[in-house]
């Protein structure tokens, strides 16, 4: 097990470098960011040259990348164009997005798995059909539509919630955005769980457990659900990274100043430091989430053992 973890951690290194290099190149291809700092007027050449030097943009790309990575390992993610340290931006943005992601994941787990189990056990019944139809609707409607409609109905028409989240972004204000963010994944989780449960219901070990006379609750939770959760856990694990990075739409609609917002701003302003910094952290989150998922397999299904 220990060996397996170490091997996985080592594998993360090339992935990490590859991903950051790619992002670095992509942002670089977009052209000279300093030109946008002076508005509709051309930056005067002397100031532009000094700004380029300050942000390290005057050197060849490979050198910029090397310097950048060197700094990252000392915890220095550089400075954004508005003079703020990228680490400062991160410490403001990540807690918010993590809260939002937690809310979304909890919705996915609680609602998604519950509905999945419910429909999986009653396949073909009216409940199943209704939930399936509902998930189909949720999947087919883009997030921004769900978000805007909920914002309009709950925030403006009925006045139940504030249409936007305040800058402190406490948990209670994040419930609706979290639900919106989770909606599509939630539908997938439901469907995955349903299929998995329905399949395993006919498995030998379930029949054995029932034959042993175990109470139904125990059969479902300990035997059936535990084995059926593997694909679901895989999905939710990879979704952590996707939710954090892909929250741009939801964050925009509800005015949440999280990672998505910072990334969006960074891309618009072509701030290499901001974009690469945030993406670097997101890549790490993604890799770690995947590792945890893999380790969870062993917990869920004792037959899976890592050498």
């Amino acid at each position: 097990m220990g060996r397996y973890v170490i091997r996985r951690l080592l594998q993360m290194i090339p992935v990490f470098f590859g991903a950051t290099l790619l992002i670095f190149l992509m942002v670089n291809v977009m052209g000279d960011p300093v030109a946008g700092l002076c508005g509709d007027r051309k930056c005067d050449p002397a100031t532009a040259a000094r700004l380029k030097k300050e942000f390290g943009l005057d050197k060849p790309v490979w050198q910029q990348y090397a310097t950048y990575m060197g700094n990252v390992f000392t915890g220095d993610f550089g400075t954004a164009f508005n003079g703020q340290k990228v680490t400062e931006l991160m410490s403001a943005a990540f807690p918010v997005t993590i809260r939002l992601t937690v809310v979304a994941i909890v919705f996915e787990i609680v609602i998604g798995i519950s509905l999945g189990v419910l429909t999986g056990l009653r396949r073909g019944r009216p409940v199943d059909t209704v939930v399936l139809l509902l998930t189909l609707v949720v999947i087919s409607i883009p997030t921004f539509v769900t978000g805007l409609v909920l914002q309009l109905l709950l925030g403006v028409e009925w006045g139940v919630v504030k249409p936007s989240v305040s800058s402190e972004a406490p948990f209670d204000e994040l419930l609706i955005p979290g639900l919106v963010l989770a909606s599509v994944s939630l539908a997938y989780v439901t469907r995955l769980t349903r299929t998995s449960i329905a399949e395993n219901r006919r498995a030998d070990y379930v029949r054995t457990a029932i034959a042993k006379g175990l109470p139904r609750r125990r059969v479902v939770t300990r035997h059936l659900l535990r084995n059926s959760l593997i694909p679901v856990v895989t999905f939710i694990g990879t979704d952590v990274g996707a939710l954090m990075g892909g929250a741009i739409v939801t964050e925009r609609i509800f005015n949440i100043h999280g990672v998505g917002f910072q990334l969006y701003q960074g891309i618009l302003r072509q701030s290499t430091q901001t974009v690469v910094g945030f993406v670097t952290v997101l890549v790490l989150v993604f890799l770690l989430a995947n590792l945890i998922v893999d380790l969870l397999y062993a917990v869920l299904d004792p037959r899976i053992r890592y050498a």
Binding site: G31, G36, R41, T47, F81, V127
Partner: protein
């Protein structure tokens, strides 16, 4: 009935979720009464640059500086006239040497006195290349600028030789050339005075700026919120009529508008394009749509021989006549733009140099004449006009497509004009300033100060900083120089208009339309107006 239990549980979770959110909702905004203590909540955009006077060149940072600082002059929010604020008098005999006297009773909100030195030091700081201030060029007219801000290499001086402190309330300015309307440029926030605290602990100052304006910064969370409070001891004549302003950064102005509708926000100073259609019925009188000092144009590449050779002005004029400005401003912009008929802006007023119809027939839609002119001029270079724009902000795609449609229809060719989107504003600006664009591109000018000089010189003078198309005309340059040397304001304006007539003949850029500022506000506040820069006049807003 296991399943049913599960369903119930899920339903409960959702109900709890909704209820909890409801508890968190409501409240916000307003407070106080009509006694000048109420707080205005306003939408805001994240400033692009650090908030310091000589480093702020866009409107989001600018509106904060407007609240925090008072300079020598202040533009009247109604007429745009530059009136003395901190200045007692600014005098000159030769349009080149100025004596500035300031009023003695001004202080910064930290108690420091505003002296002649506060201005001179701030200007020296702004001009010095080593401080990387993006607005440094504003000081380029002052003698010695080439020493503190050389085009290459390191500065050989730290201070501008043209600035001299005479005594506590007097300083003199020597310019590199005659510039009669120079005192009127001093209302721009870049020329604001700075307290000693700015230099002593720069980082601390940036995290909580201290100025001499009607407001002080109560708290500032970068990127999300700034709370400004009325400064009770403010010595100026324009004390704030409200208790303060809470500026909240919105990721999307649609969200800000939604919040205004829901009653969580008092003021939105940029009504999103998608809502313009509804704004009038949603807000009634609380929707503002007033002219601002912004003009949008189509610029051409004069560095390209095909566009600069004689005779091509006919093509440019023809293209101009092929654009149905009236129709586009009505349908696409819902009348938040006014068809342009000169190269300035109506906010200047007739005395300030705005002259309706100066462009003449060339700015009137006439398809037949357009076709004739383009043909006479030898057709569009390359057979097709590419109009470059940035697709990331604004609704540029919509109007560029409309302009091209109009041109195609008038010229009776399907592909005479096409839009050419560029990903980001920075990329667009990079290409434009390096002369890498061909065809035409969207150009725009938001005035720095309400002067006709500011509309003409930076855009069309030979090698001027915003003259991306590299238009050059000796006669135009000569007239601008003469206008700048003219001590009489009316004569100066007349000279500028003479220069502008050359633009009408040569058509270096096609004037499209003047842009309005648009805003909406809640019924909790009143006396909301926009100034010529399309920025709300925050200090006059009353909370009901």
């Amino acid at each position: 009935m296991r399943g049913a239990t599960h369903a119930k549980w899920a339903a409960c979770a959702v109900a709890v979720a909704l209820a909890a959110t409801a508890c968190g909702g409501g409240g916000g905004g307003g407070g106080g009464g009509g006694d000048g203590t109420g707080i205005v909540s306003s939408s805001w955009g994240d400033p692009q640059n650090p908030l310091e006077p000589a480093n702020t060149n866009e409107v989001q940072g600018g509106k904060i500086l407007d609240m925090l600082f008072r300079g020598l002059k202040q533009y009247d929010p109604k007429t745009g006239e530059a009136k003395n604020m901190v200045a007692e008098s600014i005098e000159t005999k030769d349009a080149r040497n100025f004596t500035v006297k300031i009023k003695g009773d001004w202080t910064f909100s930290n108690g420091e006195k505003v002296t002649a030195k506060s201005f001179v030091d701030a200007w020296n700081y702004g001009a010095n290349l080593e401080n990387n201030q993006k607005n440094a060029y504003f000081f380029a007219y002052i003698d010695g600028y080439d020493k503190v801000h050389p085009e290459k290499g390191n500065p050989s001086a730290k201070t501008l030789s043209g600035l001299k402190v005479v005594d506590e309330t007097t300083f003199t300015v020597k310019l590199t050339q005659k510039f009669s309307t120079w005192p009127d440029t001093l209302g721009y926030p870049t020329f604001a005075p700075l307290p000693q605290a700015f230099y002593d602990d720069h980082d601390a100052w940036l995290s909580k700026p201290v100025g001499n304006g009607p407001y002080t910064v109560d708290s500032y969370t970068k990127g999300s919120k700034m709370s400004l409070r009325k400064w009770d001891a403010y010595p100026g004549p324009d004390k704030a009529k409200n208790g303060g302003v809470d500026m909240t950064v919105y990721t999307d102005n649609n969200t800000a508008y939604t919040n205004l509708m829901a009653g969580n926000l008092d003021l939105v100073d940029d009504v999103p394009a998608a809502q313009l259609r509804n704004a009038k019925s949603d807000l009634g009188d609380r929707y503002i749509n007033t002219p601002a000092g912004i003009i949008q144009t189509l610029a051409f590449p004069f560095y390209d021989d095909e566009w600069s050779k004689p005779g091509k002005e006919k093509v440019r004029k023809g293209l101009s006549m092929a654009i149905n400005r009236k129709q586009i401003t009505e349908t696409i912009f819902q009348n938040t733009r006014t068809p342009a008929t000169d190269w300035t802006s109506p906010v200047l007023g007739e005395d300030g140099g705005y002259q309706a119809g100066l462009c003449g027939d060339a700015c009137e839609y006439d398809a037949a004449e357009a076709r004739k002119l383009v043909e006479e001029g030898g057709g569009i270079p390359g057979g097709q006009l590419k109009v470059t724009y940035n697709a990331d902000t604004g609704s540029h795609k919509e109007w560029v497509d409309a302009v091209c449609n109009s041109i195609n229809k008038a010229l009776e060719k399907d592909k005479a004009c096409v839009g050419n989107p560029v990903g980001t504003f920075a990329d667009f600006r990079g290409k434009a300033s390096k002369q890498e664009l061909d065809g035409a591109w969207r150009a725009g000018w938001q005035m720095d100060y309400p002067l006709i000089q500011n509309f003409l010189e930076p855009n069309y003078y030979t090698d001027a900083p915003s003259n991306d198309g590299k238009f050059s005309d000796k006669e135009f340059d000569r007239l601008v120089n003469e206008a700048n040397g003219e001590t009489d304001n009316a004569k100066a304006v007349a000279k500028f208009q003479e220069a502008e007539k050359i633009l009408a003949r040569k058509m270096p850029a096609i004037p499209l339309w003047y842009q309005n500022g648009s805003a909406g506000y809640s019924d909790k506040v009143s006396d909301v107006t926009l100034n010529q820069f399309s920025v709300p006049v925050y200090d006059r807003i009353k909370v009901n």
